[in-house]
Structures are given as structure tokens and as C-alpha cells.
Amino acid sequence: MNTALRAEVLKVRTTRTTAGVLAGMVGVVLLAIALHAFGLPANRLATGADQRKMFLDVGSNMGMVFAALIGALSMTVEFRYGTIRPTLLSVPRRGRVIVAKAWSALVVGSVAGMVAAGLASAAGTAFLRLRGMSVDIPAGQYVQLVLGGAAAGAAWATLGFGVGAVVRSQVPAVVGLFVWILFVENVLIAGVPSVGKYSPGALGRALAGQQVDAVASWPAALLALVTVAGAAVCAALAATTTRDFT
């Protein structure tokens, strides 16, 4: 592990920010999956496909939202507290800092995505059984939920990191990401499905196994998400290497 990456891993481990965001995510996922599992009419949870859609809607979506938050904070915190200056004094080749931060965000984001999807699937299954319903989801689909959630979390954390690097200011970066995930994407998917299915959120859900008509195949979704994440890192590099830090 190079020095810049070691420093970024230490940054994650030495404040409560990431742990706090992950703990918040666990609480939100548990609350949301409980509301869905106990609150939806039984006829909407009758088949394995219905049940999997509920796990995916909660787990995958929450994983992406919180991964984006983690990614954005990893950069905006540096500007908010001025730690970008000692960071760049220690590693003045800015490209190295950006790549290290992107890797760090990607790994933490994948953990967030995996935990959200895994927790939604496990707790959702338990809650449905508590309700007296049988759960009919093959093991392979659970695996896809968790691994797809991890991949989507990784991509969204990298995307959030790129937005944070370009915008720099914490509140606009986080609000912008949330508006995109929770509002713009839904409008796109409903209004222009041929375009909306390539929005990063739809791609993430496709990776986790979403089965609706307007969805990209998982290899296409993976390729598109890698492209999105790569573009975010390139934007972060462009925003960081050419600017003055005053």
C-alpha cells in the first residue's frame, strides 16, 4: 500500500464520521425494511420476485445513498476543516492524493453497499417470516443482491467523491447528490426510460438483480458504472490539479 493510501485509510479509521454514517445507515435500513415487511399488503409480497424487489428497493437504494454521502464527505471534509493543506504538503503530487482518496472511498462505499443490501435481505427475510409468510428467494439471488449492492456502493462512493472534489462545499455537494438520487433519477426513469435506465441509480439496481422491462443487463450496467466512476475520478483530478489552494 503506498503512503498516500495508508494515510487515507488512517483518516477513515481515526474519526467517527464514517462509523457514524454507517451506523445511521444500519438504523435507516432496519427501520425501512421493517416498515415495508410489516406494512405492505400481503398480496404485494406474495412471490419471491416481490420479496426480492422489496429487499432491493430498500437495501440497494440505501446503500447507494449512504455510499454517495461517504464519498462526498471524504473530500468535502478536507476543505471544510482545511486539512487539504497539510494533505497536499505531505503528498504534493496531487494525482496521488486523488487516486488514494478515490480508492479509499470506493472500498468504504462497497462496504456500505454490501452491509445495506445484506442487512435488508437478512432482516427482511426474518421480518417476513415473523409475519408468518414463507420466503422464496434462491441463494444465488441473495448473493447477487449483496455483491451487486457492494458494486453499486463502490461506484456511488466514487461518484460522490468526484462531486465533492469538484463542488468542495459540503452542503451543496451532499444536497446535490441526494436531489439527484431521490428526485432527478426517478423523474428520468419514469419520463424517459430509455435514458433513465442508464442513470447511476438504475444501473446499481440492475447490478443487484432488478428485473423490470427498462433495465440494463448486468454486464452493461457494470461497464456503465465503471465508466461513471472513472469519469468522477477524472473530474476530481481535473478539479484538483489545476486549482490553487489558498
Partner: protein, 266 residues
């Protein structure tokens, strides 16, 4: 633990012998740690730094003085690779800061007294920087001891006083046993004994062969701490001379400074 002001700080500078000789610098034509040549930096239509030049020799403490907006901070930012020059060069050891292979071995800098994550402990802040700089973690405890923050090092930085933050910044600057210290207003928040202690640290650093560039508005303190003075105003160097030439029995450094930086027509 408070710093023992009577204790002589033990300063070690990587690559420099105990006699203060630096084999690397001896290979350079002018033996300068810092060489700023015809440096110009503009922000839109404002010329913040206007064609300035100076050098810093090893073993000296140089005061970098000027009114607010004179261009001091901009010069330091360019020297440290945080901003790009529009013209000219600012070199450390003959290279641009961003081209240094081991910058922490060359330069330790404190630009702001508050560049810390408030929720991270002082010790963890130093651990992060030691990891980023490739400096052995054993240096973290050494510099904490040097600045007197051992007892407080596991507390979150948000609980630190301004003086403690200044000490933590200096500890970070000393992590890599650098040849050059660049300090922007380092006495802000320090009490008189802390200021006295800092003066001893800077002197010990210079006597060990290191070079110090310290920007400050506290002229009385600067007059007791430095060997050399550079005064700039409106982005231009007004004076670049040994302290004894700018302050003596006939005038104080403050009088020289005020005469040089007086507004035109006053």
C-alpha cells in the same frame, strides 16, 4: 505536560551533519535552501506578488514581514506548491516543491493554526501525516514530546486551545526532520512562555543547520528571533537584509518597517 522552557529542544535535521553542514546544498551553486526568482502571481486583475526574488541560506532564521495583503501568504503558498506562479520560480533545494521526492524531509510548514479535523486526536493527526509522508511512526511520539503535547495527544483537537494547536502544527512540521521550516504567524495564541520556547526551538533548529522562514506581524518578537529580514508590500520586496542593518541603536525594526511600508503621500 507543559513545555519545559529551560530545556534545550533537541532538533535533528535529516541529511545535515551536527556541524550544520548539508552535503546536498554544498553541491548547489549558491548554497541556498530556498531560491525565489522573479516570482509573479496574479488573482484576476490583482497582482498579489510582483516579480520578487530572494534566497534563504542554511542556518538562518528569516522574518518575512509586510502589511495584510502584501503578498506574504501568496508567496508561501507558491513556494509550497499550493498555488501556481504566473511567472518566475520558487525552488526548495533547487526543485519546485511539487517535484520533491520526500517533501517532509525538506520542508515542514504551518500555514494555518486550525488545519485539523476537530474530531481527530492530536496524535492521530500526526500519525496520518507521518503515513502520508513516509516518516516512521516513532517520530510521532518524539515530536509530541518536543512540543509538550504528550499528555493531551489522545484528546480530540477540538478540545485544544489555540496555543496547543500551534504546538501541534509545529510538531507536524518537524515530523520529517526537515531542512526548512515555513511558519505563518506561529506565535498567535502562544502565551509569553510559549513564545519564549518557540524562539528557542527556532534558534536550535537554525544552529543545527536548518533554515527558518517565519511570517509575522509581531515585530518586537521578530526582532528577538531572526537573523535576517525580508519586508514586502504590494507584492514587492522593500528590504532584504540582515536584522542588524534594519534595526540598531538608532532605530527599531518597527520604525524601519513603518517607514518602508507607509502609504504613499503619508
Amino acid at each position: 505536560m507543559r513545555v519545559n522552557e529551560l530545556m534545550t529542544p533537541k532538533i535533528v535535521i535529516a541529511g545535515v551533519s551536527q556541524a550544520g553542514r548539508d552535503p546536498y546544498l554544498r553541491t548547489m551553486s549558491n548554497n541556498a535552501v530556498v531560491e525565489v526568482s522573479s516570482l509573479t502571481k496574479r488573482y484576476d486583475d490583482v497582482v498579489a506578488v510582483d516579480n520578487i526574488s530572494f534566497t534563504l541560506a542554511p542556518g538562518t532564521v528569516t522574518g518575512f514581514l509586510g502589511p495584510n495583503g502584501a503578498g506574504k501568504t501568496t508567496t508561501l503558498r507558491v513556494l509550497l506548491g499550493l498555488a501556481d506562479a504566473d511567472a518566475g520560480t520558487a525552488l526548495v533545494g533547487g526543485r519546485r516543491y511539487r517535484e520533491l521526492d520526500e517533501p517532509a524531509r525538506w520542508v515542514g510548514a504551518v500555514l494555518e493554526s486550525n488545519d485539523f479535523h476537530p474530531g481527530r486526536s492530536g496524535r492521530d493527526h500526526l500519525r496520518v501525516l507521518s503515513a502520508a509522508s513516509g516518516v516512521a511512526e516513532v517520530r510521532v511520539d518524539e515530536v509530541l514530546d518536543l512540543v509538550g503535547l504528550v499528555d493531551a495527544c489522545r484528546r480530540a483537537v477540538k478540545t485544544y486551545s489555540l496555543g496547543m494547536r500551534q504546538r501541534l502544527g509545529l510538531a507536524a512540521a518537524l515530523l520529517g526532520e526537515p531542512r526548512l521550516l515555513v511558519l505563518d504567524e506561529p506565535t498567535n495564541g502562544l502565551d509569553p512562555s510559549g513564545t519564549h520556547w518557540l524562539r528557542r526551538v527556532l534558534r536550535a533548529f537554525a544552529e543545527a543547520g536548518g533554515t527558518v522562514l517565519v511570517s509575522s506581524h509581531q515585530l518586537a518578537e521578530i526582532a528577538q528571533s531572526v537573523d535576517h529580514v525580508i519586508i514586502i508590500d504590494r507584492g514587492r520586496v522593500l528590504a532584504d537584509a540582515p536584522l542588524v542593518e534594519l534595526a540598531g541603536s538608532d532605530r527599531t525594526l518597527e520604525q524601519t518597517y513603518l517607514a518602508l511600508t507607509a502609504p504613499v503621500g503619508s
